[in-house]
Amino acid sequence: MATASVSTPLKSHTGIFSSRTAGGRMPLTPSPRQRAIPINLNSSPFTPDKPTNDGHRAASKSVYGRDLSSHLARSTSGAHRNSPKSNIARGVSTPRKALELGVSDFTLTGTGLHNRGTPASTRSKKTAPLRQKAAKTSINYAADRFIPNRGASSAIANVGSGKLDFQEKQRPRTGNSEASSVLASATDDAIAALEGLSLDDGEPASYSRPSPNTVAYQDSLADACGVNLNQRILQFKPAPPESSKPIDLRQQYNRPLKPAGAGAAQFRRRIATAPERVLDAPGLIDDYYLNLLDWSSCNQVAIGLERNVYVWSADEGSVSSLLETSPDTYVSSVKWSGDGAYVGVGLGTGEVQIWDVAEGVKVRSMFGHDTRVGVMGWSKHLLSTGARSGLVYNHDVRIAEHKVAELVSHTSEVCGLEWRSDGAQLATGGNDNLLSIWDARSLAVPKFTKTNHKAAVKAVAWCPWNMNLLATGGGSHDKHIHFWNTTSGARVNSIDTGSQVTSLRWSPHYREIVSSSGFPANSLSIWSYPTLVRNVEIPAHESRVLHSCLSPDGQMLATAAADESLKFWKIFEKKAGAGAGVGGAGSSGKAEMSKQMTIR
């Protein structure tokens, strides 16, 4: 779990760029915005908020205790008038006098018109509507001398004292603001009981003098339950299922709290959750529908940044600008040919260029699309290009009449396209939420057309160990990864990832697939297949991850995100257990066997 932030020493690359990028951010240089990945050392899981046992008891007492007396002190001093919450107190301004006279406020509330005139409107917003009703009703029922009943029923022994009665009158307010309904005041209950009585019995509204005994009974009942009768306590009646065996908690507490997880953890490999390296990618267009990142079999990374294509050599750590488009367009896709010698570049105009990277010259331009080419895929000499129009063309790059097939299926922008490694099938996904699987031998109609995704299908990946298995991921309204048997056309599995799926890559070594996500997670998730267990979720970028690609040795994943950074993750490291030494990754990479690819 030790997440060390990788600090890449600044290299003397200033010479490379001095002429081109004076003043600006240099593409593919170590990002200055290295963020230390926060280590989530959760503080002690049990830190109760203040209110422990004592606190709660104090709160419960406060109804009668300190809180009230202080309030009383305030109200007698006349301050209550200004108190925004003191709605009742305002109504009882006269009773305050009565208080001094030693007369119960109930007498007064019953007769005094002023109190009748203080209905719900004076109640503060905090008071639940339910209570409002109760309060209003109270005026009707309390219209007469009623004190003895209350004294008999409620557990408060101090009836008769005008002062305390006054407190009682104020209690609903205090009780509500405390929001401690367990301790619902006896007054409320009494009132509610009365109201409930009239409701339940269907008594006429004029009924205003309840039998003392009934009231007392209702009151004590409500009091015993500690609830308002405007409420019902409902119980889910069916008996809960029996426990399969008797449980001794003592035994349970002595074992790990999650035995299942603990067992699996031993077999789970460790995955480095810190990036190996972070490079700047200024000007990376934040567009889900483009495919601007690719890693060649010769260990070179090509990235399209607005009008430029840069090639970053993972072996040498050097970067060069391959091309710059004319000002009226931009790079919308890049794709390496299988041998890593050429890179196909799709442009916003619909033009497709093929560049020889070693020579740094353009080999040819292919026209045909009249909308931007957002995605491309190579199958030997065939280059498939998907455009915004929804059309997919196959180009034979060797011949002059390059366009050899037109694949018509999508009605909206094609953003996902992937050839199966043997070139026998092609999968395309579009903004029309469609996934099409094509047989290379008959391209007139798709072999299968899948409509399961509910958003654009950009993430398309063929399983390296099972030729018939295809994984596809949907956009932000879909959030699913679907797995397909491309021979039968059946959907074999699905995952709800919870966020936009922007790309999918299978690990060549582990039975795992990594998905990159956009809003809201902006993370990388590694899933086991076929168990579909999420092994790890790495919070990868500050904004959505747009593109990803695997290194030729399959150990490293490069991700480009809308936060204009390019990060390298060693998520499929071949040797397990070496995860702790992430900090020294720059040098450890070199020291490892020559077969392994390194990035510098």
Binding site: P48, D49, Q235, K237, P241, P259, Y288, E537
Partner: protein
Amino acid sequence: MASSSVAPILAAEKDKSKVHKLSLKGSAKLVAEFFQYSIHTILFQRGVYPAEDFSAVKKYGLNMLVSSDDQVRAYIKKIMAQLDKWMVGGKITKLVIVITNKDTGEHVERWQFDVQIFKPTKPSKSSKSKLSSTQENDGSAPQAPVEKTEAEIQQEIAAIFRQITASVTFLPQLNGDCTFNVLVYADADSDVPVEWGDSDAKEIVNGERVQLRGFSTANHRVDTLVSYRLQD
């Protein structure tokens, strides 16, 4: 509320309330989901069902233990189906999980979740995203309420579950076979399906109470309280 007689204003008001209902619904869902995980967690932590019946799922950034016993799941699912409806309708003020000793019928532990519904106050600003050709690029507009992010709420919830988990350290040992009941404090005018019936509060007599953390969304506030019988 409906004091205005000018048509456009009325229309605007209606619009606002519509937006509100949605966010209220989302909040209610979140609270209901929290209840569901609470029930599972309490059943596990208090040993109402054997630990082997539970499996861990990632939720709220924690490993939540959820029963994998079909019967228990179905039972909770039935409860949740109704609870969801009540939550969305704003009918519930409390949800209570009572653990009862099977032999003596005594209520030994009572977990209470108080729900407060806030009045909708300020208009929410989120506008429906139109389905343009670049809908995926628009997708990053957050739909969470303004004042608290989803992540913050999740953290608050996670803190409660940590507390529930940690509460086993001070809660008394439950002896003997225990079962549980779910109570709901609903408004008197709620629709009540047949499986639900009136009940008493099943309070713990002379119980000890401990207030745990709470969490709040734009529309709801939930407070947690556990009461338990003191060991004699």
